[in-house]
Symmetry: C2
Subunit: 254 residues, 2 copies
C-alpha cells in the first residue's frame, strides 16, 4: 500500500524544485528500473506488483513496497501503467574540465525538448560517450519524460549541469583538445579528420549553438545533405544530428 | 472570421477517418505552410492574420481567410498559436515497385510514434530520399503531430501506404535490388559496401522489422555500438537509426 503522504511525495517529483529538494527522481517500468538497479544507482524505494517482485528477487534494493496495478496507475505518468516504479537518489558529481582530457565528451547547449534530451543520452550511451556536460538552461535529466526517453541509458551516462561557456573555456585551456560543433557553413564531416579525444557541442533546437559558445568552437562541422545542391529541410532534428556526428567519430575508431 | 461549420470541419481533421473522407489535412505555422505553398501542394484554404498575409503575398493561394490570433488559437493544436493554418489536399499516388528501380527508397514497417514518423520524413528529405513506402499500420502522415514533426519536409517527400510485404516481394522480383534492414546480428555498416540503389527497411519501435518482411531482407546491417564489447543501451531510437543508416549510404556518394 502507498500512504497518502508517499503519494504526495511521488507526485511532487514531477517538479524540478522538489526533485532538487529531496535529491530524488522517479523511473517507471521494468527496463529503466532494471538498468538503474543493476548499475547500482542508489535506490530509495521500489513500488512494484507481487509478480514483478517475484521475478526480480536478485536485483531488489533494501526498501520494496508491494502495491497493486491500480495503485501504480494512480502514481504513473505513462499511458499503460508500469509493473514497477522506483525512486532513486540524485547525486551531484563534481567535475573539472581536466578530468575529460582522455576521452570524447558531449556538451549540450540549451536543448529544451525532454524527448530530444533523453534520446541524446541514449545515443551517448550507444556510442560510448560516458559524460554529457549541459548548460544550466538545458532540459532537466530527472524530468520524468527525459528519464523515460533515455530507455535506461540514464543508469550508465553521467550528466553534469554547469556554466557551459566557462566550462568550455577551461576545457580548452587545460586540455588543448578540439571543440567541435555543427554549423551550416561547417566542413563536410565525412571527409575530414576527427580527433579521438575532444568535445562535441550540440545546440538548442531552434537557435543552435549560442554566440558565446560558438566563439569557443575550434572545428565547425557540417552533415552534408544529398544531393548537395537540392532544396531540402533546413536542418536535421538535434538528436538526429547528434547521432550522425557521434557515429562519424566512432566509425573511424572501430 | 471562421464560421462555426468551418471550425467543426477543421477540428474533424484531427481524426484520420475525416481526413480520409475530405481528403484534406492541416498544417500549422509559417515554416510548414511556406514549404507546402512553394512546393505547389494543392491548398484548399489558408487562415492567417493580416500581418502574415501581408508578408506572404507572393505565395498566397486562391482562398485566403483573414482571422485573428484568438481565432487561430481556438483551432490550433500548438502551445503557442501560429500566425497561419492551411488546409491542403491529400493526393493518393499510385505506385508500382518498378518505378523505384533507379533510386534509394525507404520503407517503414509499422512505426507508431508520430514524432518518430515526422522526424523520419525530415531525415529522408535531408538525405535526398524522395519516396517513403509505409505498411498500412504505420502512423498516418497527415496526423497533425506527424505533419508538425516533418518541419516542412512533407512538402517534398512522397509517402505511400501499401501492403508492404507484397510490395517488397514485387520490388525484389522486378528490380533485383538489395533490401537492407538493421538487426543486432547484422553486418557492421561502416565497413561494407552499400548500393546506390535499393530499399532500406526500418521497423517498429518495439518489435523491429516484422517476421514477414525480415524474410525478404537481402542484407542485414548493424550500427556498431562503442566500444563493441560494452554494456550499453539495447538499441537506438528508430529515427536515430534511420539517420545513421541514411548518412552511411550517402557518405559514399558525396
Amino acid at each position: 500500500m502507498i500512504s497518502k503522504n508517499k503519494k504526495k511525495f511521488l507526485s511532487s517529483l514531477q517538479q524540478k524544485k522538489y526533485r532538487k529538494k529531496y535529491a530524488a527522481f522517479m523511473g517507471e517500468g521494468h527496463k529503466i528500473n532494471y538498468d538503474l538497479l543493476t548499475e547500482n544507482i542508489s535506490c530509495l524505494e521500489i513500488f512494484a506488483t507481487r509478480e514483478w517482485i517475484d521475478e526480480n528477487t536478485n536485483i531488489l534494493p533494501e526498501k520494496v513496497t508491494e502495491v497493486t496495478t491500480a495503485e501504480l496507475k494512480s502514481i504513473s505518468n505513462l499511458k499503460s501503467p508500469p509493473q514497477v516504479i522506483g525512486i532513486y537518489e540524485i547525486v551531484d558529481h563534481d567535475i573539472t574540465a581536466k578530468a575529460f582530457s582522455e576521452t570524447l565528451v558531449l556538451a549540450i547547449d540549451g536543448i529544451q525538448d525532454p524527448g530530444n534530451m533523453g534520446t541524446i543520452i541514449r545515443i551517448a550511451d550507444w556510442f560510448g560517450i560516458k559524460h554529457v556536460i549541459c548548460s544550466e538552461d538545458t532540459a532537466d535529466l530527472y524530468n520524468p519524460k527525459v528519464v523515460q526517453a533515455t530507455m535506461g541509458a540514464i543508469a550508465r551516462v553521467k550528466v553534469y549541469y554547469v556554466d557551459l561557456p566557462e566550462f568550455v573555456r577551461d576545457y580548452k585551456n587545460e586540455t588543448k583538445l578540439p571543440v567541435y560543433g555543427t554549423f551550416l557553413e561547417g566542413e563536410n564531416i565525412y571527409g575530414r579528420e576527427l580527433s579521438e579525444k575532444g568535445m562535441i557541442v550540440m545546440g538548442n533546437e531552434g537557435k543552435g549553438i549560442s554566440r558565446e559558445i560558438e566563439k569557443l568552437i575550434t572545428d565547425k562541422l557540417f552533415i552534408p545533405n544529398y544531393p548537395p545542391d537540392a532544396t531540402t529541410s533546413e536542418s536535421l532534428n538535434v538528436a538526429v544530428a547528434t547521432a550522425v556526428v557521434c557515429s562519424e567519430f566512432r566509425r573511424r575508431m572501430i
